[in-house]
């Protein structure tokens, strides 16, 4: 066995496609597999891809060293309301929480007099209120009335819940009542999936904590069944180690742990994408990057800051994506990469509104019937049709030439819009491409400007089938100087799975240190660390463990808290004073103001990480490049800066080598993606075979900024 090569496998199951990357641990050779997702039998789709990959490299399951998995299954359960029948147990007086609801109308919904909030995940009547009460310090105000609890939970059990979520007032401060109620629930409902709020995420704010527990219960039974079945199927194939699952935070946990903490996996696919971007940054020497992913129906943006993905504890699941905001959807408190999504992609449909302006989306042609050029019966003009008419896509090389498309149908669709607008078809196509760029920009705006980040200080990376077509236009919108397109941008998320470490996040409400007593706080950190180490030990990791600790701090007068890392060693007055100073700096940098208010500690946060062996990134020595040899043909393509269609070289990405450089206008093709480089930009191929696109010359906007008088 020892002399046979071993492999790392990353599998990312998306809505339409399952992407797999298999990397040889000895040679670093990377192979990709793309298969259709099988929503009805999710395990079968994953196993098809794994078998295909093994056949591709001529290996058996026993040669796989590590399998890391991401899936949209939990999100789909929520979006399609196909999760478990959940019973909710809470403190007497608060059982109407999800009926009163945190869902609210945003944007034009505020004018929609028939607006209806999404149905709660807890159905009407599936609630038990328990007589008990704690205060915020975890002291018992009303003892748990066990007889009452037994009776009420028995009544709930009679309604047949498949899962139970327990969240009692201030349960985070003292889990005793929640644990005792859970015992009663398990006794009355032996088959049910039970989760308690103090286990999932012990933080104050009852609505979000309860919602996190409910979401876990809602997706838990199906998700745990799925990962258990998948792990068995892999074992049958000869893979002997634990299956690993990507969390929404960019860390990985074992399938066994994931089955108990389902809410942590809700955005596993996008998290893998951000991890790939972070890895790209590490390899190329960039700490701050924006990740931009655009597919057929949605576009997503996330941020890597100081080498780490930006994390939020205020994520909402299944919210309205068009605004990319977080005001809609089910709130969860567990860490999720800070992600903005807009419902716009290659399939977005263009139309003329009653006022005579061109609009794009939110309706999408999706894959059925698809853009007009697919010839599947779609007649509406989409972004993909526009890109085809502008010469950005090659009708004879769509999906690497495997799919026949019809420019004449795009032309007919464009002509119809052109007649309404009184301009020509090219003008329509150019306008649609431009509007698509503006839509994409709004996703990036949310994760940067709205968070106090200046996108011009960041490198922009593109992935997904359509990302590289639009990314330079999006960069121009903000004045971002550098764009990077990694190799195989269509399967980047799957690669990201293999560069993530095992990680467990722990949280506690910070003890009061205003009296000068730091011992309790120090003990809290020690306990959180011990719990995380214990989990990793159960997973088989005892070496190479790194503990990251942080406090979150806010001004006494404000609600917004910021997370500040703290060093190893005892947590004392000096450590907290230094953290407070960092907090004030960070606040000033993001809000532009320096309040003099007192600060207060909110949370203790501990992340326990086990570093795992990752595939080596292949490095290619630069060679005196002659990019011209990679030009496979030329075709006319439209560029505003060039004043119209210009004869543009088309490069075959497979033939480009490190050190190759060329100026726009240029098109770079690879099987599942096309990169557009407009005039005024230059492309260079780096030693990792990334395309690095930079502006040729200065951005005039710098001088505008200098001439302006700034108040404050």
């Amino acid at each position: 066995m020892a002399d046979r090569p071993t492999y790392f496998v990353g599998v990312d199951v998306g809505g339409t496609f399952t992407d797999l990357v298999i990397v040889c641990s000895q040679t670093g050779e990377v192979r990709n597999v793309k298969t259709l997702t099988t929503p009805a039998e999710p395990v079968r789709g994953v196993m098809n891809a794994v078998r295909e990959a093994l056949a591709l490299v001529g290996a058996t399951g026993a040669q796989i060293d590590r399998v890391v998995h991401a899936t949209t299954l939990p999100t789909n359960l929520v979006l399609e309301r196909k999760g478990a029948k959940v019973g909710f147990v809470t403190t007497l007086g608060f059982g109407d929480m999800f009926r009163i609801s945190k869902q609210k109308p945003i944007g034009s919904n505020r004018y929609d007099l028939s607006y209806r909030r999404p149905e709660p995940l807890v159905a009407r009547g599936m609630v038990a209120e328990i007589c008990e009460r704690m205060d915020h310090l975890g002291q018992v105000i009303t003892p748990l009335d066990v007889a009452d609890a037994e009776a009420r939970i028995a009544a709930l059990a009679a309604k047949g819940p498949e899962a139970v979520a327990i969240c009692l007032m201030h349960g985070y401060a003292n889990p005793d009542h929640e644990q005792r109620v859970a015992e009663i629930a398990r006794r009355h409902m032996p088959g049910a999936y039970v989760c308690i709020s103090s286990d999932i995420w012990p933080e104050y704010q009852e609505y979000e904590r309860a919602s996190t527990a409910v979401l876990s219960a809602y997706i838990g039974p199906t998700f745990s069944g799925y990962v258990n079945e998948l792990e068995r199927a892999l074992r049958d194939l000869g893979y002997a180690r634990p299956l690993q699952i990507m969390q929404s935070s960019g860390g990985v946990m074992t399938a066994a742990a994931a089955a108990r903490k389902a809410a942590y996996m809700i955005e596993s696919g996008p998290a893998a994408g951000i991890m790939a971007t972070a890895e790209l940054g590490r390899a190329c020497g960039f700490d701050n990057l924006i990740s931009f992913d655009m597919g057929g129906t949605t576009a997503k943006a996330g941020v890597v800051q100081n080498g780490q993905p930006r994390i939020t504890n205020d994520f909402r699941v299944g919210g309205k994506a068009s605004a990319g905001g977080r005001d809609a959807g089910e709130p969860i408190k567990v860490p999720v990469i800070d992600l903005a999504e807009v419902g716009a992609g290659g399939g977005s449909i263009a139309w003329v509104d009653r006022g005579g302006f061109l609009q794009l989306g939110p309706e999408s042609a999706s894959s059925e019937p698809g853009p007009a050029c697919y010839g599947f019966g779609g007649t509406e003009m989409t972004v993909t049709d526009a890109n085809l008419l502008l010469g950005y896509l090659d009708p004879d090389y769509f999906l690497g030439g495997t799919m026949k498309i019809h420019p004449d149908r795009s032309r007919a669709a464009a002509d119809r819009l052109a007649a309404k607008l009184g301009i020509d078809a090219t003008g329509v196509a150019r306008g649609i491409h431009m509007l698509a760029n503006t839509n994409m920009a709004s996703a990036i705006r949310i994760v940067t400007l709205q968070r106090g980040i200046d996108p011009r200080e960041y490198v922009l990376t593109a992935s997904g089938g359509a990302g590289p077509l639009h990314v330079v236009g999006v960069a121009e919108h903000f004045g971002i100087p550098t764009v990077i397109i990694p190799p195989s941008p269509g399967v980047r998320s799957a690669f990201g799975l293999l560069v993530a470490d095992m990680a467990y996040d722990q949280i506690a409400m910070a003890a009061d240190v205003s009296t000068g007593n730091f011992a309790t706080l120090d003990a809290q950190f020690a306990q959180l660390e011990a719990e995380g180490r214990e989990q990793l030990r159960r997973d088989g990791f005892e070496e190479g463990i790194v503990v990251e600790r942080a406090v979150s701090i806010r001004f006494e007068s404000q609600v917004l808290d910021l997370t500040i890392p703290i060093p190893d060693g005892p947590v004392d007055a000096a450590v907290i004073a230094a953290a407070e100073a960092s907090f004030r700096e960070l606040y000033a940098a993001t809000a532009g103001l320096r309040p003099t208010d007192r600060c207060t500690l909110v949370h203790c946060k501990v992340r326990v990480v086990a570093h795992v062996r990752k595939p080596e990134q292949a490095v290619h020595a630069p060679r005196p490049g002659d990019a011209a040899q990679a030009v496979k043909r030329r075709r006319p393509a439209y560029f505003t800066a060039a004043g119209g269609f210009v004869d543009t070289p088309v490069y075959d990405r497979a033939r480009l080598a490190p050190g190759d450089a060329f100026a726009g206008p240029a098109i770079v093709e690879e099987p599942e993606s096309t990169t557009i480089c407009p005039p005024g930009y230059v492309v260079e191929v780096d030693r990792h075979l990334n395309l690095v696109i930079e502006r040729n010359g200065l951005d005039e906007r710098a001088s505008i900024r200098e001439n302006l008088v700034t108040c404050l």
């Binding site: 608060f94 431009m434 108040c711 404050l712």
Partner: protein, 587 residues
């Protein structure tokens, strides 16, 4: 989204319609970014918790060219304030880096705690654009903390009035103005954070607008802005043209002003749809009140805009073109256009009456957009000494109640009036208990409080707070406390509201809807009951299955099911006695 019906639509000046759409989106992004920047920097908890505040942009002629979706409540005020600003400070007196602030309710404002800030943006030495932002600031004095006294009878009781005033001159903060306003605030540091946050938003807008001028050119940008205003006008005109010509009337009566007993304040509107134009005449509305329920003209206009947009396409950009086909008559000295120096911090009593009156009138045109009146916002300000006696604590709890029934849709239990864009569980109770010596005993939907109807009004809400120290409370029910939200089209009223001390115990007593600085002792429990919305349609026509579901959940009692909805349940309450129900409903 409505797809075009076909045929060529022309832009009025032969401009590239695509560039116009890009300019439209770009202006909105500028306004949003400025609003976000300002909210992020705010000192007051209430604002910092929101993601964005109201921001507006204007061209050199002070015409509104863009406005964010947030701050619906402030939508018309900034536009009116800019007129007052330029009257006092003509464009030729402004220089790059100036910021002007104003809160005068009688110079376009709404009440003194809502402060507007304006930043001129220069091109070739002249103001080419203005950015206006508005925020509710932490405190500017007045009878009670936060500028919300329930017993105010003049604007002087509600805080310091600031006429249009330069706060920044060429980028330099005016120290004299700063000292003056800070010495009139209970929370000067937070106040300056708030006001400087407005300036920070102005910086962003100035930069981004200058970038747009560089990108498009000043003249072409101006042409596209002209086109953008015409575009909104076209869409509004099309909306009115789609409505049948005629005169439609509506009214709603505000219950009392908290000072003068037994007087109420009707709001009347007469809406005339004439081709592509709309006239709204509020003649006949009550004379202005002694108490603070009055609405300034700009506040009333914001509420009219909201109600009209419920019947137009709500995505029509808010700009000068939106206003062109609309004529509004607000007689001075009435509750809908109060005169100096009336008090107006409880202005949403009248504002919401305006919304309900306009919606009632327009529901004749489109029955599917009917909505019965719902609850108004109730605020509770609590102050007390800390348990160890070393200092003071204060907190603000807000309860919105539920909205009225809609055509084909119940009111939404715990869903506030959509105008507010709020959720029933917006604020966590554990958070209040962390910061303050209070304990919540419950927060739940109350039975038999949603107005019965074929479509039921949203259920009312009950919250109980136990105080652990002696406290002083200011309770401020905006409206619909004694006179509950009525039903429409045969629907019945929702429940009214109540503030009850020590309910169910010896010494229980009720407070009036508007009360300032009332003392309670440690251990007292205050029960807050917020109104349920009115019902729509005859309750006897409600689907019995929906009645059963409401009974199962405790929102409707078995008795109300029988007496009001005429639905008879099985003895075990798990099903409907169809035969008995039919007999009861027929009789």
């Amino acid at each position: 989204m409505s797809q075009p019906t076909g045929g060529a639509v022309e832009t009025s000046r032969g401009l590239d319609p695509i560039l116009c759409e890009v300019v439209k989106n770009s202006l909105m992004l500028v306004a949003q970014e400025a609003g976000i920047r300002a909210a992020r920097s705010a000192g007051s908890t209430f604002v910092a918790a929101s993601a964005e505040i109201a921001c507006t942009l204007y061209d050199a002629d002070a015409r509104l060219i863009a406005q964010t979706e947030v701050g619906i409540m402030h939508s018309a005020a900034l536009r009116a304030m800019l007129q007052a600003v330029l009257r006092d400070h003509p464009p030729e007196t402004l220089v790059e880096g100036d910021v002007l602030i104003v809160n005068d309710p009688f110079a376009g404002g709404v009440h003194p705690t809502d402060v507007g800030a304006f930043r001129p943006v220069f091109h070739e030495g002249r103001p080419a654009f203005y950015c206006g932002l508005m925020m509710i600031v932490s405190d500017l004095g007045g009878l009670s903390s936060g500028g919300l006294p329930a017993n105010a009878s003049e604007c002087f009781h509600e805080g310091l009035t600031i006429p249009p005033t330069k706060l920044y001159r060429a980028g330099q903060l005016d120290e004299a103005v700063t000292r003056l306003i800070c010495s009139n605030s209970r929370t000067p540091a937070k106040l300056m954070s708030d006001i400087n946050a407005l300036a920070a938003g102005g910086n962003v807008a100035a930069l981004r607008l200058a970038e747009m001028v560089a990108k498009f050119g000043y003249e072409p940008l101006g042409d596209m802005i002209d086109e953008l205003l015409d575009y909104s006008e076209r869409l509004v005109r099309q909306g009115f043209a789609d409505m049948p010509d005629g005169v439609y009337t509506g009214s709603f009566t505000v219950e009392n002003d908290g000072i003068v007993p037994d007087r109420d304040y009707p709001v009347h509107v007469r809406i005339e749809i004439d081709g592509s134009e709309c006239r709204l005449d509020f003649t006949g509305s009550a004379k202005q009140a002694t108490g603070a329920i009055n609405s300034t003209a700009s506040q009333t206009l914001s509420c009219i805009n909201y109600a009209l947009r419920c019947h137009l396409d709500p995505t029509i950009p808010m700009n000068e073109g939106f206003y062109r086909p609309i004529e509004v008559l607000l007689p001075p000295g009435t509750v809908v256009n109060c005169s100096y120096p009336s008090a107006c911090n409880i202005r949403l009593a009248t504002g919401q009456a305006v919304i309900d009156a306009v919606l009632q009138a327009l529901s004749v045109i489109d029955e599917t957009r009917s909505m019965a009146p719902g609850a108004t916002v109730h605020t509770l300000n609590i102050q007390g000494a800390t348990p160890d006696g070393s200092g003071l604590w204060s907190m603000l709890d807000v309860c919105f109640g539920s909205c009225g029934a809609r055509h084909g849709e119940d009111g939404g239990d715990g869903l506030p009036l959509l105008f507010h864009g709020q959720a029933g569980y917006e604020r966590n109770l554990e958070g209040y208990e962390w910061g303050h010596p209070v304990r919540y005993r419950c927060y739940r939907l109350a039975p038999d409080t949603g107005g019965p109807g074929r479509w039921r009004g949203g259920a009312g809400l009950v919250k109980e707070i136990e105080f652990q120290t002696d406290v002083v409370i200011t309770a401020r029910a905006t409206d619909r406390f004694d006179r509950p939200p009525p039903g429409i089209g045969g629907g019945l009223a929702g429940s009214g509201a109540a503030w009850i001390v020590n309910r169910g115990e010896a010494g229980e007593y009720a407070l009036p809807g508007k009360i300032t600085n009332h003392r309670l002792k440690a251990g007292d429990v205050l029960t807050i009951m917020c109104p349920g919305g009115g019902g729509l349609g005859d309750p006897r026509e409600r689907d019995p299955a929906l009645v059963l579901a409401d009974v199962e959940e405790g929102i409707v009692s078995v008795e109300a099911a029988r007496e009001v909805y005429r639905v008879v349940l099985n003895p075990d309450r798990t099903g409907i006695d169809d035969a008995a129900t039919e007999v009861l409903r027929r009789g």
